[in-house]
């Protein structure tokens, strides 16, 4: 990707708090109009990165470019960004309208222009009836809408979201998630979204950057991240329930794990290992085949069911395979009992194989 069409560019960014390196030599180009999600567990530096982009934290080294301008030393308000926070961060003593206009009044935007922008934001977010209320009189979902509105009225190129849905209950979170996606489709702004929730990341993102220890582990579309994770960390992090990993060796077209020889057939190696290379194979619970699908499975084996977890839409089966706990997903309508023996099929071509030492994809 060239930097010319980049909306936000992060160049060789370093950030340390004393001896603790929070971000290390980080490079990232975000395309104009892209929805980029920074995903990672807590402490991985994703929120820190967002704060550095916003100008709320100073980097130790490196540059931030927004819309072709080096904004590394610019104030947050001069960067052309709007930000939405997890705790909404609405000014409690101001009405919703006061909250929306605070930034514009600070920037001395003309009155009729303020009026026009507030009207537009209120219409987009459907908060017109709330304009005269104080934040204390709003529900969580309404508050977050107002917080988004505050970013919207600024008429900026880049939106930054810092876990905006984490304080909401599950149902509201799902609703607002869809609204956010619609908003992005309408506005076509660049959006950078920080979350630890992989469902939010998968559903919202054009591209996901998975972070760990201040570094980006993989940057790619949700399909790439899910289908071809570049390393074991990403493979383990994405997917719920997560992959089951088996240690073994790769020998030509066969992956040998304890008691099973899995034919690799159609597996696309990124770099084909030599014979007898120690490796780890990861199998997603939803890629295990049962029943009628078995016919297409290159490898079949029998297991004894240890535990059944019905989830409604599907059912999780816990069992042992190759001397290790193993779980897989079946259709919700399947009737399976504890102790039953069933045949399952595995397609190693859909699995992921990693080098045992480097944990990089093979």
């Amino acid at each position: 990707m060239t930097v010319e069409n980049a909306s936000v560019s992060i160049k060789n960014l370093d950030l340390s708090f004393g001896a603790v390196k929070v971000l290390q030599n980080l490079n990232l180009d975000i395309v104009d109009g892209e929805f980029l999600v920074l995903l990672g567990s807590s402490g991985c530096g994703k929120s820190t990165l967002l704060n550095v982009i916003a100008g709320l934290l100073e980097p130790t080294d490196g540059q931030i470019w927004i819309k072709g301008k080096n904004v590394t030393w610019a104030e947050p308000s001069e960067r052309g960004i709007g930000m939405v926070f997890q705790s909404y961060a609405l000014y409690p003593q101001m009405t919703v309208e006061g909250n929306l206009t605070f930034g514009l009044r600070n920037a001395r935007v003309p009155k009729d222009e303020i009026k026009r922008r507030v009207a537009r934001a209120a219409e987009i977010l459907q908060i017109e009836p709330l304009l005269k209320r104080k934040p204390g009189a709003l529900s969580g979902g309404q508050r977050q809408r107002v917080a988004i509105g505050r970013a919207l009225v600024r008429d900026v190129d880049v939106f930054l979201f810092d876990e905006p849905l984490s304080n909401l209950d599950a149902k509201l979170r799902a609703d607002l998630r869809v609204e956010l996606k619609l908003l992005h489709n309408n506005l076509e702004n660049t959006m950078i979204y920080v979350t630890h929730d992989q469902v939010e990341a998968m559903t919202l993102a054009d591209r996901i950057a998975i972070m760990k220890g201040g570094k980006i582990m993989q940057l790619g579309t949700p399909a790439e991240i899910y289908g071809t994770p570049q390393n074991k960390y990403v493979a383990d992090f994405i997917g719920s329930p997560s992959m089951t990993f088996y240690d073994g060796t790769v020998d030509g077209t066969v992956m040998k794990i304890e008691g099973h020889d899995l034919p690799l057939g159609a597996y696309q190696f990124t770099n084909r290992p030599g014979p007898g290379t120690p490796a780890t194979i990861g199998i997603r619970p939803e890629h295990v085949m049962t029943g009628d699908n078995l016919r297409s499975a290159p490898y079949q084996t029998d297991i004894t069911v240890d535990l059944v977890e019905p989830m409604g839409s599907d059912t999780l089966i816990y069992c042992h395979l190759a001397g290790q706990p193993f779980r897989f997903r079946m259709d919700g309508s399947a009737v399976v009992r504890k102790g039953e023996r069933i045949t399952i099929g595995i397609d190693p071509a859909r699995a992921s194989i990693f080098d045992k030492d480097t944990e990089e994809r093979l």
């Binding site: 709320l56 947050p76 308000s77 926070f85 000014y91 409690p92 934040p135």
Partner: protein, 314 residues
């Protein structure tokens, strides 16, 4: 037609006999005169009495004439209520050469209190805001030094400050005393404000910065409107502290003309010439204590809210 089931249900709830038959139901009845209650309320009553008694004695004594006081019976209510002692304490009581009562000291104290209060609360709030929101290199060290200041006994600093004020040409003046009060109120009030502002979510501050507000705009338009409770606490601490101060007043004021009320009260009560006028002394003491008392009564609720400041969130 009434539903028999509902009738039966209401009956059994209301009627004691049904209640016994049905067994326990609803809230468990409580015995108001249980042993625990008697001990708790009894103790509270005794303690309250213990605290209220001196005040009672002061009030009734201040309303009696001298002949009645000489009889003894300090707990007896006045047979003949007179406000003469109050008038005398305010207008006529003698301290040294001046015989115009406490009124002089009262106005001196007001002249000391108002500028000290405004200056110290204003500076401390800005200090606290800067120390919690705009951390700079060395801000923690600065704060620690300020805190150490709070723990140095006043006596150690009394004389050095005399020299400082003398060199500045302020010794003996009200201005000098105001400066001393502002300086000594600084550590505790800064701590108070810093902790309060630290409890305000950081994201609010970040949002204001993204909205283009600077140091003063965030302080005046975001933080101040949220800080009424803590300002009330600071005002109460400062008013009572400055008004009740005796040590600084007697040390840094050189002329009886400018003594604050507390120092003047001491001079009235401890004067050794003539008859001890207990009623006038009591009235004078009550008059002096009136200002902090009024402040407490006027702001009690807000005070409690400010003390529990952690609960005040946006």
């Amino acid at each position: 037609m009434a539903d028999i089931g509902i009738l039966a249900a209401t009956k059994s709830a209301e009627h004691p006999v049904y209640r016994m038959i049905d067994g326990p139901r609803g809230a468990k009845p409580k015995n108001r005169f249980s042993r625990a209650n008697i001990i708790v309320y009894g103790t509270l009553f005794v303690v309250a009495l213990y605290y209220a008694l001196p005040l009672y004695v002061m009030i009734v004594t201040s309303l009696k004439g001298l002949p009645e006081i000489r009889v003894g019976n300090i707990f007896a209510p006045p047979l003949e209520v007179t406000f003469q002692p109050w008038v005398k304490a305010w207008q006529e009581a003698c301290t040294g050469i001046n015989c115009d009562g406490l009124s002089r000291g009262f106005w001196n104290s007001v002249r000391i209190l108002i500028p000290s209060l405004i200056l110290s609360v204003a500076i401390a709030s800005i200090n606290g805001y800067a120390l919690s929101m705009w951390k700079f290199r060395g801000s923690e060290v600065f704060f620690t030094i300020l805190m150490i200041g709070a723990f140095i006994p006043y006596q150690v600093m009394l004389y050095p400050i005399v020299i400082l004020l003398r060199e500045a040409g302020l010794y003996g003046s009200l201005t000098g005393l105001v400066l001393v009060h502002v300086a000594f109120g600084m550590p505790i009030n800064t701590l108070l404000f810093r902790n309060y502002f630290a409890s305000i979510p950081e994201e609010l501050f970040k949002a204001a910065r993204v909205d283009g507000a600077g140091f003063w705009a965030i302080f005046f338009r975001i933080m101040l409107p949220m800080s009424l409770p803590i300002f009330v606490v600071a005002v109460i601490i400062q008013v009572t502290g400055i008004w009740n101060d005796f040590l600084f007043g007697v040390t840094y004021i050189s002329s009886p003309d400018r003594y604050p009320m507390t120092v003047q009260l001491n001079n009235i009560v401890n004067s050794v010439q003539g008859v001890k006028e207990y009623n006038v002394n009591m009235a004078a003491t009550l008059l002096t204590g009136l200002v902090p008392l009024v402040i407490y009564f006027a702001s009690g609720k807000l005070f409690v809210r400010g003390i529990a400041a952690g609960a005040v969130k946006g």
